[in-house]
């Protein structure tokens, strides 16, 4: 036994795996699934398509035209969030999670790498979709309506912050996926949390409404000027500014990822 054992030279290199290796693994996993690209393509196409439709349908130049041009982010975000969920839960459904955690036993590192890679991809796609939707809308406005330009106050900010919203909601989905681990349940919680509960609270409790994800996206991120509810200002919540809105959404995502990472490290895989 010993004679044979000694013929095996140790070939394990120095150092240790870290975030770079984990991120490389997650990038290969993300890009090697066709569903990733389909979902991102449909997200971008939907966002841009709605921007064009809004542009064609705009009859007066009085409202916040930038906000209108970015109306497509609301359904687009749902897809990005769902993709974030599936990036995590897909590993549990298929059993890949065991292979992943055997390769990278420091589990919070796995989630950090996923968040970095998925966050970067959705940021790029989100910014592209947001800018293209803005320009497509501007190009399709009818004669006589002055199209907004990026040089006008708040316009560039609205477009950039809206693009970042894709990334943040995607990361929120990823965190929920890590917490809940079942695809359907996690997508359900995401939709309920972002869309349904936000709507209910928006009606019932005006104080909290400004902090609901969907209302932040609609009324904080993509606006160039503070939203007012016309004549009936008493029933109108005091909405967050664009950056504060992005910060609150980011906080939700960070909380979901932190809880997800903590559970991932604690639970049996």
């Amino acid at each position: 036994m010993t004679a044979i054992t000694e013929t095996r030279a140790p070939r394990v290199p120095g150092g240790r795996y870290g975030l770079a290796q984990a991120a490389r693994m997650e990038w290969i996993k993300l890009r090697s699934l066709r569903s990733t690209w389909w979902t991102l393509a449909v997200t971008a196409a939907g966002t841009i398509g709605i921007g064009v439709a809004v542009g064609l349908g705009t009859r007066s130049g009085s409202g916040d035209l930038t906000n209108n041009a970015l109306a497509g982010v609301v359904p687009g975000l749902l897809l990005t969030g769902a993709l974030g969920v599936l990036t995590m839960t897909g590993e549990y459904t298929s059993g890949t999670i065991r292979a992943t955690l055997a390769a990278i036993p420091r589990r919070p590192l796995v989630l950090a790498a996923k968040a970095a890679v998925f966050g970067a991809v959705t940021l790029i796609v989100g910014e592209a979709a947001s800018f293209i939707a803005f320009f497509a809308d501007a190009a399709t406005l009818r004669h006589g309506i002055a199209a907004p330009t990026l040089g006008q106050p708040g316009v560039l900010r609205a477009v950039v912050v809206t693009g970042a919203g894709f990334c943040v909601i995607g990361l929120l989905g990823l965190g929920l996926g890590a917490i809940i681990r079942h695809s359907a349940a996690a997508v359900g919680v995401l939709v309920a949390g972002v869309y349904v509960i936000a709507g209910v609270i928006g009606i019932v409790a005006h104080g909290a409404a400004a902090y609901m994800p969907l209302l932040i996206v609609e009324n904080s991120l993509s606006t160039t000027k503070p939203v007012t509810c016309g004549t009936d200002s008493a029933s109108c919540p005091h909405f967050l500014s664009a950056w504060a809105g992005l910060g609150v959404l980011g906080l939700y995502a960070v909380i979901a990822l932190a809880v997800g990472g903590w559970l991932l490290a604690r639970r049996d895989a």
Binding site: M1, T2, I4, T5, E6, T7, R8, R11, V12, P13, G15, R16, Y17, Q21, A22, R24, M25, E26, W27, I28, K29, S32, L33, R34, S35, G90, E91, S94, G95, T96, R98, A99, T100, L101, A102, A103, I104, P105, R106, R266, D268, A269
Partner: protein, 245 residues
């Protein structure tokens, strides 16, 4: 070298693994036998750090799995036949694992060739048969050229050629001085493949011995196994009842 010391794992009121201690040494194939539900898979998951033991610990090459610097280069594992995403190709699955432990990309095609999947490497793994999935799992285990291999039921779903291939592969890996720990409920297969045996029942160690020693007092290894595990079988068919009903 794998060392299990007082490994204990409970799921609610059920004790899946009960103060289990054994060593698996390099240079020979060690079979891991036990009836269904005896805790073989749980033990392997505890060794790999996938489940957290309630007491005791397992070490691989002197380290706890979570402390390993390049886990896949030190331990290769096959835990279940389909631990891969059905939408991903075999090559991408292995490339992702290789990247996680800085294993050269060329090694992916090498192991694909080794397990006979070179021609199917670009296909979505969801279309694979059980046997092909098993081969992909073996490829993943071999990826880092590890000194320790842990394989849970590797011959499941393999055709006779595949069974013989696994048998010879495991023997040659052990002959190279590696530690090979392989679970099975196919006793006849273990009789052909393994030199040493760890037998458990209801999560407890029943024997830590050699194939030769265990089968010495019985007509076959199978008879010896049944005698050893007669008190530790959880799920048993009843032929007498079937015959009378």
């Amino acid at each position: 070298m794998i060392e299990a010391r007082d490994l204990t794992k409970r799921y609610g009121p059920t004790v899946a693994v009960d103060a289990l201690s054994f060593d698996v040494r390099p240079g020979s194939v060690t079979g891991f036998l036990g009836p269904n539900g005896s805790g073989k898979s749980t033990t392997m998951r505890l060794i790999l750090g996938l489940d957290r033991p309630d007491a005791g610990q397992a070490r691989v090459g002197g380290h706890r799995y979570r402390e390993l610097r390049w886990p896949l280069r030190e331990v290769g594992a096959l835990l279940e036949a389909r631990a891969f995403h059905p939408g991903r190709s075999a090559r991408s699955h292995l490339a992702a694992l290789a990247a996680s432990n800085a294993i050269p990309r060329a090694r992916v095609d090498e192991v694909l060739d080794m397990v006979g999947l070179a021609s199917a490497a670009g296909r979505r793994a969801g279309k694979f048969s059980l046997g092909m999935g098993q081969r992909l799992g073996v490829a993943a285990a071999l990826l880092g050229d590890p000194a320790v291999l842990i394989l849970d039921e590797p011959v499941n779903g393999l055709d006779p050629e595949g069974v013989r291939w696994i048998r010879n592969l495991l023997k040659s890996l052990a002959a190279q001085g590696r530690t090979v720990f392989v679970s099975s409920h196919l006793i006849s297969e273990m009789a052909l493949t393994a030199e040493r045996l760890v037998v458990i029942g209801r999560g407890r160690l029943l024997a830590d011995t050699t194939v030769a020693e265990l089968s010495a007092g019985s007509a076959s290894l199978e008879d010896a196994f049944f005698r050893l595990t007669s008190d530790a079988v959880e799920y048993q068919g009843n032929t007498a009842k079937e015959a009378t009903s």
